[in-house]
Each structure stands twice: as C-alpha cells, then as structure tokens.
C-alpha cells in the first residue's frame, strides 16, 4: 500500500500513514481553511487500509492544536478507524495541556476504540 506522507505547515498537521513500517501518525497543528478537503485523502487511505489492515494498529494523535472544523474531521477519522480490528489510539498531549487531554477523553467517549493517553 502506498505511503501517505504530508509535511506539516503552520495550519496543517504532519501526517504519516505507512502500513509496511507500522507508522500511523497525525501531529502538529490543524486549522486548515477547508478541513473536509484536507482530510479527504486521509479518510480515503484509511478506507483502503481497512480492507487489508495489519493485525494490530497503533494510531498516534500528537496534536498541539486543532480548530473546531478539524475536530469534526478528527471524529470522522476515528469513526473510520473504529471498524478496523486491532485498532488502538495513542492520544498524546503536552503534560500541561488539560484541554488537549480533555479533547481526547471526549473523543474516546464518542467512538468504540481503546484509547491510551500519553504525555510528551
């Protein structure tokens, strides 16, 4: 499967989705002008991955900031991951960032995927 690799910018996150090496990560800042358009390739990649997923997947979210339009798309990403067997979310937040911790907890209440919370 092809690797999805997007460099982070000041308003979009860095994204690496690499089945072969088992790297699945969204990190940085997410406040794109058009969040639906930005996350479309991510959702498409996950849909394909679901058909031939690794036995287990640790999907990393290491976000510094996301806006509300991105939060809806992050929920869409999580919903797409929900149907994949062996899925686990690693939700990173900066150790003094309660809002990011709470955001992760809220997402974990909205989807049926195990979440592991980690600080950085």
């Amino acid at each position: 499967m092809e690797i999805l690799n997007l460099e982070g910018t000041e308003d979009t996150p860095k994204i690496i989705l690499d089945k072969k090496n088992g790297i699945f990560e969204i990190s940085g800042r997410s406040l794109p002008e058009d969040s639906a358009e930005f996350y479309r390739p991510v959702l498409e990649w996950i849909e394909q991955y679901g058909e031939q997923a690794n036995p287990s997947t640790d999907f990393v979210f290491k976000l510094e900031y996301f806006n509300t339009a991105s939060s809806k798309l992050i929920l869409d990403v999580l919903s797409a991951l929900e149907d994949i067997k062996g899925m686990k979310i690693l939700w990173y937040f900066h150790e003094d960032d309660e809002d990011m911790e709470e955001a992760g907890q809220e997402f974990s209440e909205l989807v049926e995927i195990p979440f592991e919370f980690k600080t950085y």
Binding site: E10, D34, A36, A69, S71, K72, D97, D99
Partner: protein, 182 residues
C-alpha cells in the same frame, strides 16, 4: 492628522495590543495569529493561557472569514471587518466586529444566548451533541466555534449588534480569557 493620535490614545486606554482591520482570509488569519503568538511568547505568558487565547483567536478569525456578510451599500461593496486583542493585568480580551445582514441577527442572538445559558457540563454536552450530528457546512464550519470559545474562556460571550443601516448590523463579540491560573 489628529485622528492618528486619537486612535493611538484609544488603543492605549483600551489596552489594545493588536488591531487589524480589512479583508479577512486564511492568509491574513495566519499572519495575525503569528503576530499575536510572537507577542504572547515575548511577554512570557503561561503556556496554557497562550493556548486558550490562540484557540479563541482562531475561532473568532475563522468565523469572520466564513460568516461575515458582504456589505452592499449603493455602489460600495465591502468585506471589511475588525479584530482586536486587549490585554489587561487579569485577562486577555479577544474581540471582533463584522457586518451581518439583519435577517441573520435573530438566529445569531438566540444561539449566543443559548450558549451563555449553559454551565461547564452543559457546554460539554452541547459540544458532543453537535460534533456527533453535524456535517461540515458549505462554508467549511462545523457549527462549534461559539461553543468552543465559551468553553475555552470559561466566561460568557459578550455581544452587541449596533445598527449600520437599514439592512445591516455590526456584530460585536468579546471573549475574555482570564490570566490568573487556578
């Protein structure tokens, strides 16, 4: 040219650290954010307060980009809106002003009043309710901006709608972020 001095004095007396007036786009949003960030960094502001201010700023700016109505007054068409940040010893204030058609005012007011009537848990429930059921609008919004601003602020959203002319009001919004960390 006394108006320059007057404007300067107004900014000083209102404790404004940043004022931007003009067209609002994603590009200007990014510039304003990076200017404000530099300002917060150089003043050594606490990182959790910095994040909250940044958060409210993004939602306020993107609200203008997505929802500000074009003002049509005779031959003149304008997208002009204003964005301000105030800094006092105990709080930051993120303020915005943009034209809205009078037909949109009632809906906006209702929405803001509803949000102001909720406590912390009520806001959390509303946020989850909206995010579960919303789809991204044609304008690219999720309908979560005001709820998020209220949550990050921990206070009420202050708003007024002074009349501009027969068809438009100027939507003034003020959101405070306290600087005292508990």
């Amino acid at each position: 040219m006394n108006f320059i001095y007057d404007l300067h004095r107004t900014m000083m007396s209102q404790n404004l650290i940043l004022v931007y007036q003009g067209d609002f786009t994603q590009e200007s949003t990014k510039s304003i954010l990076s200017m404000a960030e530099r300002n917060l960094d150089s003043s050594g502001e606490d990182s959790s307060i910095k994040r909250k201010v940044f958060n409210v700023m993004v939602e306020a700016l993107q609200n203008i980009v997505k929802h500000s109505d074009e003002l049509v007054d005779g031959q003149t068409r304008s997208h002009a809106a204003i964005f301000l940040i105030g800094k006092e010893s105990n709080r930051y204030s993120i303020m915005s002003g943009n034209p809205v058609r009078k037909s949109n005012v009632e809906r906006l007011k209702k929405n803001l009043e509803h949000i102001n009537g909720l406590d912390k848990d009520g806001l959390k429930e509303l946020y989850k309710e909206i995010i579960k059921n919303t789809t991204i609008s044609e304008k690219g919004g999720a309908g979560l901006g005001f709820v998020d601003m209220a949550r990050k602020s921990g206070g009420k959203l202050q708003f007024e709608f002074p009349e501009m002319n027969a068809d438009y009001c100027f939507f003034c919004l003020k959101v405070n972020v306290p600087r005292d960390t508990e």
